[in-house]
């Protein structure tokens, strides 16, 4: 399998929704330690709105699908993660355009555009202890694996692993963006909740791609 279609992307979105809902309490727990105890609720609320929106059927083109996801997140989540994840999906869709499937490089470019969107909105840099610190390694790893000739399935698995590593690496960091930054030194020693949800985002992408290959 060298490309994924809207069905696989729809499956990704649905798996992501299921996973953040299942891990809702954990995400909130992480946000209690260094934020305001709502990241789990925010993501679960947003992704259940997405599921509802898509329940009528998956849009025919990649950009329609991803923009719908983005718009729904923007208008249902609020908080920092709403505009950030919303912008991520909106920009991904804009980069992908009105196609029906994405090959490896297409997917990588779309994810990169999404990441750039998050940076444009939130101005996060590496090491700020945000979702960026899981997402950037994920996107970089995808590029690298594809460049090394890996299969799409292997490449997204590598991206998921890199995102998880990035998430774990937020633990010792002192936050410089988002609510956790108010804690100063006290933010060290905790995982960033947004990095944790982003690791789930990449993990469910790998699972969806693997599922479609199986």
């Amino acid at each position: 399998m060298a490309a994924i279609d809207t069905a696989v992307l729809g499956d990704w979105v649905s798996r992501f929704g299921t996973a953040v809902t299942e891990k809702r309490d954990w995400l909130t727990e992480l946000d209690s330690a260094i934020g305001d105890a709502d990241h789990g609720a925010n993501m679960a609320r947003g992704m259940s709105a997405v599921a509802e929106k898509l329940s009528a059927g998956t849009p025919a083109t990649v950009d329609d699908l991803l923009k719908t996801v983005g718009m729904t997140l923007v208008s249902s989540v609020g908080g920092a993660s709403g505009p950030l994840y919303g912008t991520f999906f909106l920009r991904m869709g804009m980069a992908a355009g009105p196609v029906t499937e994405l090959d490896g490089p297409g997917l990588a470019a779309a994810l990169r555009a999404g990441l750039d969107g998050i940076v444009a909105r939130g101005k996060a840099e590496a090491g700020d202890k945000t979702m960026f610190d899981a997402m950037a390694p994920g996107v970089d790893a995808l590029d690298a694996a594809l460049g090394d000739g890996a299969s799409l399935a292997d490449a997204v698995r590598a991206a998921a692993e890199a995102a998880a590593t990035g998430r774990d690496a937020t633990m010792p960091l002192v936050a410089r963006k988002g609510r956790a930054s108010y804690l100063g030194e006290r933010s060290a020693g905790h995982l960033d909740p947004g990095a944790a949800s982003t690791a789930i985002l990449f993990d469910t992408l790998a699972a969806a791609v693997a599922g479609s290959a199986g």
Binding site: D36, A41, V74, G82, G184
Partner: protein, 330 residues
């Protein structure tokens, strides 16, 4: 979790229903969580919209009314509202002279109001914006999210609301908002954590003999934890960082604000301590507020806000205001 609620997910809408029933002078859009004046202000005047996560009542919904806000947008508890809802409020109250967005400096609020302003300008509504960042517990820096917006928001909404009511144009109102934001600072502390209904348990654990200094209004733990101290010592710990940050000598408006679960008898006692220190430092308290104005759900604790004032600010402060949370001259 001990709360007067039904299901956690219904808290916001059910509370708004109560607001609607209690205040016929307000209009409550239960679908978009937007509170507006039942009688809009005159055409040609700048409208003021604020909003943010819920759980800070009376802020912001309790400050909608003549002389203060035109609309408040209520997000879920501690979660900023979405851009489309801010836009609903903005459109609803625009009287052709533009709309000021009063935003507390949190990444979520800033991003959502930014997107809302983009939506508004696409529909031809002129939007000005002020980001309130008065919390001296947080260090300001270009490389961080900057200081939080806390207690000063209340004072700013009152003063800017009065200016808009007078008929100042949007540029002048934005200018005034910047002036107020530049001259005011706050600092808060907590005796207990709050409990977010959806989380079901306290956001942080605080032993019986400890307090948090430098908390925000979202149950974020503070900058440091200390042994519980007498009120006079707490007052010093709140006032000193404010005075270290701005030169507040001269007339000032001072607010001693409760975080939600601290009773008035303690707030007045704290006010006495704070006022004594301020007066000793050359701050002359011209006006004051003591009570629960910007809260953090059921957190016990308080915050101090000091706004350096001049005749213009005092005059606008004294102008009539008629809202559920602040009322005088009307």
């Amino acid at each position: 979790m001990k709360k007067l609620i039904n299901a956690p997910e219904d808290v916001l809408v059910e509370s708004l229903k109560g607001v609607a029933l209690a205040h016929p002078e307000l209009s409550v859009d239960l679908e978009n969580h937007v509170i507006t004046r039942a009688t809009p202000k005159a055409q040609g005047k700048v409208a003021i919209v604020s909003g943010g996560g819920s759980g800070h009542e009376p802020l912001h919904g309790g400050f909608v009314g003549t002389g203060m806000l035109d609309a408040a947008v209520a997000g879920e508890v501690f979660t900023s509202p979405t851009p489309d809802r801010v836009q609903v409020a903005t459109k609803a109250v625009d009287r052709g002279a533009g709309v000021l967005h009063i935003v507390k400096n949190y990444t979520g609020d800033v991003l959502n109001f930014e997107m809302a302003a983009e939506l508004a300008s696409m529909e031809g509504i002129e939007v000005g914006s002020i980001t309130v960042d008065d919390d001296v517990a947080v260090q300001d820096s270009l490389y961080t999210a900057g200081r939080r917006g806390v207690g000063l928001t209340v004072l700013l909404e009152k003063i800017v609301g009065a200016a808009a009511e007078e008929g100042r144009d949007l540029a002048a109102v934005v200018e005034l908002a910047k002036k107020v934001n530049g001259q005011g600072r706050s600092m808060g502390m907590a005796l207990t954590s709050c409990t977010v209904p959806a989380a079901g348990k306290p956001t942080f654990d605080l032993p019986d003999d400890q307090m948090e200094i430098g908390i925000g209004i979202h149950g974020e733990p503070g900058r440091h934890r200390e042994p519980l101290a007498p009120a006079s010592d707490i007052a010093r710990q709140l006032v000193e960082p404010i005075l270290a940050d701005i030169d507040a000598a001269g007339p000032a408006i001072v607010m001693l604000n409760g975080m939600g679960a601290t009773p008035l008898i303690e707030l007045y006692l704290m006010y006495g301590e704070v006022a004594a220190i301020l007066e000793k430092s050359g701050v002359q308290i011209a006006r004051n507020l003591v009570g629960n104005y910007i809260t953090s759900l059921d957190m016990a604790g308080c915050s101090v806000t000091v706004l350096k004032a001049d005749d213009e600010l005092l005059r606008l402060w004294d102008a009539p205001v008629n809202t559920p949370g602040l009322r005088w001259g009307a």
